[in-house]
């Protein structure tokens, strides 16, 4: 049998189809980026003499390596950092009130400045478990979670994701389970704002240990916490795991069975039908191109 010629009209039509798709996607991207450009720009730093003077030295990346100490990464500050910050409108010395002179000696800088404007959060923090000093390591302060110079506005995805990522920095495993295994965690991780993140269940500043009877994730309170969003949640709603292992072999035997079952179907289907498809395409290729070894 002779080969079936490929109609040039069909080739042109395929090319047209692909071009149309590419154009449509391109237009979508353009619309998306135009919408992003229209979003209100963050407050810009006031060009006060104080800030400019400070940034003059602090915008040099070498300041991180030239200075000893735990906070040396925070010493690198540019106008760009401050432009993204919700606090960028303030003068440096509004927070760094202890600093005097250009070649300042003090390094404890802004420790208690947050409290002046955010007393409620500071009080909650003082009552929470993160304020307790333990042997586990350095306890978090305001800047551990919120960042310092570049702190983003609270109602932006950047703030939400940043705060939850900061939880993950210390609580690695729980963070991995939430952001890697829970579909809502995955959505938060990409900047989704309509889904729960760490602080929605655990609380933020006044976070308590789960065995504390006042903790929102304590066994006695957890259903109530779920019902903040899932208003119609039934009694067994709290049995649903929120921190899900992203491993293909979860420790829960029932979930492991489900995973193994799906993996088996996946491998079996692609293995057999993949083989079958390759055979079929090879056969038909030989047939349409008049090659030998075809039973007719």
């Amino acid at each position: 049998m002779r080969s079936v010629p490929l109609d040039p009209r069909r080739i042109r039509a395929i090319v047209t189809g692909m071009t149309l798709t590419a154009t449509l996607l391109g237009v979508q991207v353009l619309i998306g980026s135009a919408a992003a450009a229209q979003e209100p720009s963050p407050p810009t730093i006031s060009q006060t003499s104080g800030s400019s003077e400070c940034v003059g030295c602090h915008a040099d990346p070498a300041i991180q390596t030239a200075t000893p100490g735990r906070f040396r990464e925070g010493l690198y500050v540019t106008h760009g950092t401050l432009a993204e910050s919700v606090h960028g409108i303030f003068d440096c010395t509004s927070c760094h009130s202890a600093l005097t002179g250009t070649m300042h000696e003090r390094r404890d800088a802004a420790q208690s400045s947050c409290v002046r404007c955010h007393p409620d959060q500071a009080e909650a923090f003082a009552n929470g478990m993160h304020a307790e000093v333990t042997d586990a390591g350095p306890q978090p302060t305001c800047v551990t979670c919120h960042g310092s110079h570049g702190v983003p506005p609270v109602d932006t995805p950047a703030f939400d994701t940043r705060a939850s990522r900061e939880c993950q920095d210390c609580h690695n495993e729980m963070g991995d389970r939430f952001f890697g295994g829970n579909p809502f965690g995955m959505e938060t991780h990409r900047g989704g704002m309509n889904v729960a993140t760490c602080s929605d269940c655990h609380g933020a500043h006044g976070v308590l240990a789960a065995d504390d009877p006042a903790s929102p994730v304590n066994r006695a309170n957890i259903l109530e916490t779920c019902r903040q969003c899932h208003t119609n949640a039934p009694d067994n709603f709290a049995d649903i795991r929120v921190h899900v292992e992203s491993s293909p072999f979860p420790s829960d035997p029932r979930l492991r069975m489900v995973t193994l079952y799906m993996l088996l179907i996946l491998v079996g289907t692609f293995g057999f039908f993949g083989y079958h498809t390759v055979l079929g395409i090879k056969h038909e290729w030989r047939k349409t191109h008049g090659l030998p070894k075809v039973a007719r």
Partner: protein
């Protein structure tokens, strides 16, 4: 018309499958083709909005989030396409009910029916021999075992992915009837079944149905509903001989129509599908390799 059919089809006509005069057989009804169109569109929307949520770290996910205006938008559109997807399921059920009620499906368990039969197993064994050049082509009926599998895989997939998706969409309602762990299981089902359905449709279904060398780039029967008679003879010999024996009114002269819209639409769908297939498979393999390394450590 029957006089034309009794004559052997000219070799020349066979070489020009799009000849205006070719006789055709009605294979898919308008309703079936409309269902396929709704289903295909929904599946593409579901893949393009769901896969970036499954693999959010990849570069293509970031590009798609621009298209859907963020992760929230992708989630919202995923639910819109899910409604389209379930509508396709409902359209099919309505079509089947109407078909049975009006008597248009007299023999769904017969040799030209969609239901699985023992002969399908024999056809599979025969076909594997035939494809390697060791035997004759099996006497396929109207639907080959591969097409039946395609169909039932779709039914199964629609149920699994639809039900698990509804559980994820309405977790509180689902927990009212299911134990808590089943909601977690739904996420696993949804994730793997999404991979399975996408992988199956964009590789096995694409290559067996549309990208075969004989019909590349698309089997236009899904747009026109008409299959040229010589293709019926070639691909479904069992059905062909039964059609000839009963002198069925299914054989019609081909309606002249442009093939270009079909090629444009399918060209767009197939190229997007293949790109997504490669991207998702690479991301899935990378994730699988990472977790295997974690497991061994």
């Amino acid at each position: 018309m029957s006089a034309t059919l009794d004559e052997p089809i000219a070799e020349e006509a066979e070489l020009q499958p799009f000849d205006e005069q070719t006789a055709v057989v009605k294979r898919f009804s308008f309703w079936a083709r409309a269902t396929h169109a709704v289903l295909a569109t929904s599946v593409f929307g579901l893949v393009l909005s769901g896969m970036p949520l499954r693999y959010p770290g990849t570069f293509w996910a970031k590009a798609l989030f621009v298209v859907w205006s963020g992760a929230d938008g992708a989630g919202a559109w995923h639910r819109v396409f899910a409604v389209g997807f379930m509508s396709a399921g409902a359209m099919h059920v309505l079509g089947v009910i109407a078909g049975i009620a009006s008597g248009r499906f007299p023999k769904i368990f017969g040799p030209d029916g969609i239901m699985l039969r023992p002969t399908d197993v024999r056809h599979l064994a025969e076909n594997l021999r035939y494809l390697r050049g060791h035997g004759p082509r099996p006497e396929f009926g109207r639907f080959t075992y591969l097409e039946k599998f395609d169909y039932f895989a779709e039914v199964w997939g629609l149920l699994v992915i639809g039900l698990s998706g509804l559980v994820m969409w309405f977790p509180a309602r689902a927990a009212g009837v299911l134990p808590g762990w089943a909601v977690n299981a739904a996420v696993i089902f949804h994730s793997y079944e999404g991979l399975l359905a996408m992988g199956f449709l964009f590789s096995i279904h694409f290559f067996n149905t549309h990208l075969r060398p004989e019909v590349f780039p698309v089997d236009e029967v899904i747009f026109s509903g008409d299959l040229p008679l010589h293709e019926v003879r070639d691909r479904y010999p069992g059905w062909y001989s039964r059609l000839m024996a009963e002198g069925s009114g299914r054989v019609l002269p081909e309606r002249g129509r442009s093939r270009r819209p079909a090629a444009i639409v399918s060209g767009a769908f197939l190229s997007v599908g293949l790109v997504m297939l490669v991207m998702v498979m690479l991301a899935a393999l990378a994730e699988g390799a990472r977790s295997m390394i974690d497991l061994l450590r």
